[in-house]
């Protein structure tokens, strides 16, 4: 049932990504509409506001969740495509291990950068 679990997580990731992209669009690109609904909103592209978002715990968690779900979704898709062309058991093991390693390295790196930025700011 491992493949079913991968598939289910992939679908769940797609839903989370959609929600987070909605949040991103709302905060970053639809700020004029948001301002009409909730009063004043900080200018999203101003440097100090960007730094403040990077230091907010909620934002940091959302960044890391987005990073994790996007990586899983992307690498699951890549693995699926590769498995269509290299379908032997050995190839499947190598492809899966490669995707897990690359995804893991990117996730750890991205998380570290996000956390270090949150703790230390832009330097």
């Amino acid at each position: 049932m491992r493949e079913t679990a991968y598939w289910l997580i992939n679908i769940a990731c797609a839903i989370v990504i959609l929600v987070l992209l909605g949040v991103h669009m709302g905060v970053m690109h639809l700020d004029a509409i948001l301002a009409r609904l909730v009063g004043t909103v900080p200018e999203p592209l101003a440097w100090e506001n960007m730094v403040n978002r990077g230091k907010s715990t909620t934002q940091v968690v959302l960044y890391i969740v987005l990073l994790g779900t996007a990586l899983f979704h992307g690498f699951y898709g890549l693995r699926t495509m590769l498995l269509e062309f290299f379908s032997s058991d050995r190839a499947a093991r190598v492809i899966t291990a490669g995707c897990v390693t690359a995804g893991g390295v990117l996730f750890v790196t991205g998380t570290a950068v996000t956390v270090v930025f949150a703790l230390n700011g832009a330097g």
């Binding site: 049932m1 079913t4 598939w7 498995l83 269509e84």
Partner: protein, 275 residues
């Protein structure tokens, strides 16, 4: 009556693809692709090979590619096609035995791999003790549409995933598996699960849905595969209902969803009016 050109891709055993060959055929009202092929073999080239049997969309043996689309030869009237040139190829995603005859062995191997029959834990389903496995109309509705499959392989030829991964089970076997999983009399879900949830099983379907578009019997294999995904996910989460219908005696059959079916009686033969 129009003059048509049947452009046929020829394959010879041992020689492989020997190229396209054109045949001139005069169309007649109601003429099917199968009629055209018969005409060619009778009047122009007796060596042309294809497979057919029933001539009425029932046996599933005459699948081929017509103008780039998988179809049944007996089910496709030449008048329904545009243009006067009709190209014919053997079904995609299968090796070719000769001319328009695909080797469907992989289809039937994959089909038998998913245990396409009722699997019971008990041994009391043969009816010999007067008991039956009752089923309500609602339970029958769960899979009735999928029983129309004639194993023609048209959906397999239309499937883009099969084109790149020949080990993918494909729409027909997955549909057959769902048809039995969804049957209230069956308890074979666990026996089929390993195959269905494997690397070449349901999760490999990208939902291109070409299978459903191509199916000549309206089976909708893409829907069956999505329902199969749902069942495998529910099973993974441990919330799939799985008990099969119990055998019941002929007087009071009770089905899994609790409906009372009419009593089962053997009809008596009609009386002979001459006596």
């Amino acid at each position: 009556m129009a003059q048509l050109t049947f452009r046929i891709r020829r394959f010879q055993p041992g020689r492989g693809d020997t190229g396209w060959q054109d045949f001139s055929v005069e169309s007649s009202p109601g003429m099917t692709i199968l009629d055209g092929l018969h005409h060619i073999r009778e009047h122009q080239d007796g060596s042309l090979a294809w497979r057919h049997s029933c001539r009425m969309g029932v046996c599933g043996s005459c699948g081929l590619i017509v103008n780039g689309e998988p179809r049944l030869a007996c089910n496709t009237q030449v008048e329904s096609l545009t243009g006067s040139r009709i190209s014919l190829e053997p079904l995609w995603n299968f090796p070719v035995a000769k001319d328009l005859v695909p080797d469907l062995s992989s289809l039937f191997e994959k089909h038998s791999a998913v245990a396409p029959y009722l699997v019971r834990d008990d041994s009391e389903d043969d009816g010999s003790d007067g008991r039956e496995l009752a089923q309500s109309p609602a339970e029958l509705d769960q899979f009735l549409q999928f029983t129309s499959c004639i194993k023609c392989g048209v959906c397999m030829a239309a499937c883009p995933t099969l084109a790149s991964d020949p080990d993918f089970l494909g729409p027909m076997p997955l549909t057959a598996a769902y048809r039995y999983n969804a049957d209230s009399r069956d308890s074979g879900f666990d026996a089929r699960k390993t195959k269905l949830a494997g690397r070449h099983g349901m999760s490999h379907c990208h939902y291109a849905a070409e299978c459903s578009r191509a199916c000549p019997k309206g089976v909708d294999p893409a829907r069956a595969i999505q329902l199969l995904k749902r069942d495998l996910v529910l099973d993974l989460l441990g919330v799939r209902r799985r008990e099969p219908a119990p055998p019941v005696d002929g007087r009071a059959p009770r089905t899994r969803d609790g409906l009372q079916a009419p009593p089962f009686t053997v009809p008596s033969p009609p009386e002979n009016p001459d006596e």
